[in-house]
Structure formats: structure tokens, C-alpha cells
């Protein structure tokens, strides 16, 4: 592969990057190859010493803050719809439809987050309840032992059950919070994915 081919492929791989960022990257790599050639390497060798284009593109895209992609996306959509004023008017007119729809989507999303959050909270409350019950039962055992020994044994049994349940619900709570965090991560990636089209190398 020669320098021109390499840069063309890189440009394609950085398709979604804002134009000025893309050009800066291409200049940087062009300079790197030129400097290697000047250092006594052949063009093929110099290009061969670069990393795989997929790896380079992924790293550059990962390092570019998301707001740059967003502004680029807005720009490209605006250019495609040749008439901006018309688009604006259409957007306002159609707001009767899209505002309720968007609010509904937002409400559904927040209810979803709220519900999951409640699950996690419930699990932690279970831990507290079982733990507290176990402590109270254990504390009560000496008093019960004086008046009704069989009650004390019963209480001890229940205390063990409570401790067991507390441990189980704690594990449940930890698993749920972990799941919640993971879900949030997946969601965040998905949002970024809407703006960044991944290049399959």
C-alpha cells in the first residue's frame, strides 16, 4: 500500500469524524509517513510501519469528545435538507405530533429508570429489615429465656433465618446494582453509537 492509498482508506474509516478533525488527523499521518521516508525508508516500508487502519480509526474516534460528533451530525443533516427555513417551519408545524411523542418517550424512559431504581432500593431495604429483625431477636433471647425458654429457642431459630435472608438479599442487592450500572453503560454506548457509525474493519 502506498501513502495515498493509506490516507484514502484512513479518510474513509474516519468518515464520521468532524471534517477539520479528520483533516488534522490525515495531515498528521501524512507527515509521519513523509518523515519516515526521509529517514531512509521506502514508501511501502513507511506505510507498513503504521498500525492497522481499523485500530487507528477506533482510537481517534474514542478520543474525540462526543459533542464534536453531535455538532457534525447537525451540520450534515442541515446541509442535506437544502432549505433550512422550510425545515424549521416544518419542525414547528409538526410539533403538535412530535412534542407529545417525545415527552411520552421521555416519561417512559424515566419510569423505566425509576422502576429499576426501586428494585435496587427494595433489595437494600430487605437487607436492613432482615438485619434489624435478627438483631432484635438476638437481643430479646436472654429475657425470653427467663420466662419461657421454648420461646427463646424459637427466637434463635428465627434469628438464624433472618440472618440467612439478610445475606441472600444483600447478594441480590449487589447483583441488581451491578446490573443497573451495566445497563446504564450499554445505554450510554448506544446513545454515542447513534452519532458515531462504527467502521467494521
Amino acid at each position: 500500500m502506498n501513502k495515498i492509498e493509506f490516507l484514502q482508506k484512513l479518510e474513509l474509516a474516519l468518515d464520521r469524524l468532524p471534517e477539520n478533525e479528520r483533516n488534522k488527523t490525515l495531515l498528521y499521518y501524512s507527515e509521519m509517513i513523509e518523515d519516515r521516508i526521509e529517514d531512509g525508508k521506502s514508501e511501502e516500508e513507511a506505510v507498513g510501519e503504521m498500525e492497522a487502519i481499523g485500530i487507528i480509526a477506533q482510537r481517534i474516534i474514542d478520543e474525540t469528545p462526543i459533542h464534536k460528533f453531535v455538532s457534525e451530525k447537525i451540520k450534515t443533516t442541515a446541509y442535506k435538507s437544502s432549505n433550512k427555513t422550510l425545515m424549521a417551519i416544518l419542525l414547528i408545524l409538526s410539533s403538535i405530533i412530535w412534542v407529545p411523542l417525545a415527552s411520552a418517550a421521555l416519561i417512559v424512559f424515566f419510569s423505566f429508570v425509576f422502576t429499576i431504581g426501586m428494585f435496587v432500593l427494595t433489595a437494600y431495604l430487605l437487607v436492613v429489615t432482615f438485619g434489624a429483625s435478627a438483631i432484635i431477636l438476638v437481643l430479646g433471647i436472654p429475657y425470653m429465656f427467663i420466662s419461657k425458654p421454648y420461646l427463646a429457642i424459637l427466637a434463635l431459630g428465627f434469628a438464624f433465618i433472618c440472618i440467612g435472608c439478610a445475606i441472600l438479599s444483600f447478594r441480590l442487592a449487589v447483583a441488581l446494582s451491578k446490573g443497573f450500572t451495566k445497563l446504564a453503560l450499554v445505554f450510554a454506548r448506544w446513545i454515542k453509537g447513534l452519532f458515531v457509525k462504527k467502521e467494521e474493519a
Binding site: T25, L27, Y28, Y29, E31, M32, E34, D35, R36, E38, D39, M50, E51, I55, I56, R59, I60, E63
Partner: protein, 106 residues
Amino acid sequence: MEIQLKRGFYEVCVLAALKQEDSYGYKIIKDVSPYIEISESTLYPILKRLENSDCLAVYNVEHNSRLRKYYKITENGIKKIDEFLLEWEDITKVYEYIKEVGAGNE
């Protein structure tokens, strides 16, 4: 090495290379790579970050009828190296302690 630690190392290494003289991408890689593994795609975001945080300045020089980007360290960049060295003194103390007390098999 941990990513955060490595990131800091890279930044200071590049700054140190620039403290000697103004330099360009390929030369930085050649100067730094005997000490730390660095590739073009690692260097690129580091230079960008250092430029954004005002640790270096960029200017173009015409060279063999093409433009070459040169990087120059700023006051901020020099301060960053000094901070790193100061911080490292503390880390060295901890390292000595760990080596003395924690290492070796009984």
C-alpha cells in the same frame, strides 16, 4: 501498568522530550520510544490533550517543500514536569518502604 498512570507518564515523557528542543511528531516518537512504548496513534491524542491544556504550542515550518508541525513546550508544560517530579519523590518513598518491608519470600 494502570491506564491512568501510563497516561500521565506519556504526557510527561513527551514534555521532557520537548524541553530539550522544539520537536516534531516522528522525532518525538524516536526520542521517547527507547524508554516507553509509543505509536503514532498513542502520540496523537497526547499532543492534542497537551495542546488543549496549554502545555505546548504548535507552529508550522516549511521543510522540503512541505509543512511540518513543530511542538514547543510552554511555561505550563514546564510546570507540569516539575509537578510530576515532585509527586514522584513521594511515590519513591512509598516504593522504598514497600521494597524494604513487603518484598522477599520468607
